[in-house]
Amino acid sequence: MIDVDIGQQLGDFRLDVKFSAEAPIVGLFGRSGSGKTSVVNAIAGIGTPERGSIRINKEVLYDAAERIDLPPNERRVGYVFQDSLLFPHMDVESNLRYGQRLRSPEDRFIDEARIVDLLGLEALLHRKPRALSGGERQRVAIGRALLAQPRILLMDEPLASLDVPRKMEILAYIERLRDELRIPIVYVSHSVAEIARLADTVVVLSDGKCIASGAVDEVMGQFDFNPAAGWHDSGTVLDSRVAIQSVEDQLTTLAFDGGELVVPHLDAAVGERVRARISARDVSLALTKPADISILNVLPAEVVAIDEASGPAVDLQLAVGASMLVARITRRSLRQLGIRPGFKVHALVKAVAFDERSVGYV
């Protein structure tokens, strides 16, 4: 359980954030400059807020009223930075052991051999940080933070400096950690896809304020999430299960509460839970069920609400069975089709619109 309620003036920027979250992975989402890093820094004890309190599992790390402010080395908060910040004068093994040696044996619950195995570090142990690739460095940084035996792991845009294949690799490692170590993770990102794939609970920051928080699939379907997500990035997350694996076409059919969705092949067993993020701009609408089209996913839906923001496009919130979808169409289409809340429509989703990053395993 993470309780954060802090206020801090940073130059012209005012940070006033309050949220509570309990989940294996809490996503801290917002555009750059929204205050995400300031929040994780405050949790780690880097830079002191002016007011408020920070608690992890009821343990007070900071409380302005009580005059409690634990120094970073006593907080037992693991921190994985954007650029791994490995110590250049030590080899990988010494980097991994840096924090471990500073904890008394009775506080050690994460085992070195296990971390080395889990993160695939065996072959790197005697190399220097300079001789590692970006992805390898980040894996070592994660291992180093975990071996310091933290109560919670903060990850501040850990994939930001990596190319797409490395991103996939690290995402898979983070999922393994979540499943095997049961250590709560606060994952900071400005990428909706990463948050949708990893986080269970999301806290959305904008201009130093928390504008939404809650379960990922709920928050990501809300309209007021969109300004923070940016014009291109609104969408929803569907909680689903693998229903059919079609080897022949290399397609996977996902079943969710409200229908089925065909996506490019996923490496998952039938019945496995999967989270699929559907970007609003990948959803089109038709008033009648279209025939003779290439789009595989045609879902009957009902228009619940229309977001009347300015600009050429509007977002429509759709109910598909018990699930929610957001469609982004032009204002002109909305007018020509005469769509109003309550209309029955068909939502069209291109199967190839899914990318690997937005479909994750739960």
Binding site: I46, N73, L102
Partner: protein, 233 residues
């Protein structure tokens, strides 16, 4: 060239002792001052910075004279040191070491400060989040990463100490066997009729000494950085 005479060996030994002692005693202070100037902000930081650099811009004779006034037997600090601890600098080799240390101090602080400033602060922050106290992080991260600067600063100060003349002769005079270091001895020989060959011999010793010190520091610097500057294993 013949081998060095006993007198020459004594001069050389005294010079080395003065320079080594001055470097060893000033190094810990220089590291602290350099760290303070590089990493901390405190009132009067500019003033401290200026005072540290003063010996670099003042005539050495002025520095020596200031030491004599303050730390001489009847000086305000010198008399107290003598009374309380029995420490006397005036006209002793320890005074020569002090003069060398003061003159070499700005060079030492500058080199160390620059190398501390070049260290990514966030490495220290990362070490703190891993459980390191301020002191431990300083010892395990800052100090080893600043090692090239520490070596360079030590060498510069050592070389400055070997060559120190003005402050030394003003503060502790030119006493053979006590305060007569290499430069003072060379100067003395040049003032004596027929002393030139002696002066030349000692000058060659000084040149050799400097080259050896330079080579040693180069070797040390390379060794200390081979870990993180060289990708080959």
């Amino acid at each position: 060239m013949h081998a060095l005479s006993p007198e020459e060996v004594a001069i050389l030994a005294l010079s080395l002792r003065v320079a080594v002692v001055s470097v060893i005693c000033s190094l810990p202070i220089a590291i602290l001052v350099a760290y303070g100037l590089a990493r901390l902000s405190f009132p009067g930081k500019t003033l401290v910075d200026a005072i540290v650099h003063l010996p670099l811009v003042l005539p050495p004779v002025v520095v020596g004279f200031a030491l004599l006034v303050l730390l001489g037997k009847r000086g305000p600090i010198g008399s107290l040191l003598d009374e309380w601890f029995g420490i006397v600098f005036a006209f002793r080799w320890t005074g020569a070491a002090l003069a060398s240390a003061v003159m070499g101090f700005p060079l030492m602080v500058r080199a160390i400060r620059l190398s501390i400033e070049a260290i990514d602060r966030r490495l220290e922050t990362a070490a703190r989040t891993l459980g390191g106290s301020r002191l431990w992080v300083f010892a395990s991260i800052t100090l080893p990463l600043a090692l090239p600067g520490i070596i360079t600063g030590t060498l510069l100060s050592f070389a400055r100490g070997l060559g120190e003349f003005g402050a030394t002769i003003t503060f502790v005079s030119n006493i053979p066997g006590e305060t007569q270091t290499l430069p003072l001895a060379i100067y003395t020989f040049t003032q004596v009729p027929g002393g030139d060959p002696q002066a030349v011999r000692l000058s060659i010793v000084a040149v050799v000494l400097s080259i050896v010190a330079l080579a040693a520091s180069e070797w040390l610097t390379r060794r200390s950085t081979s870990g993180h500057r060289d990708d080959r294993r």
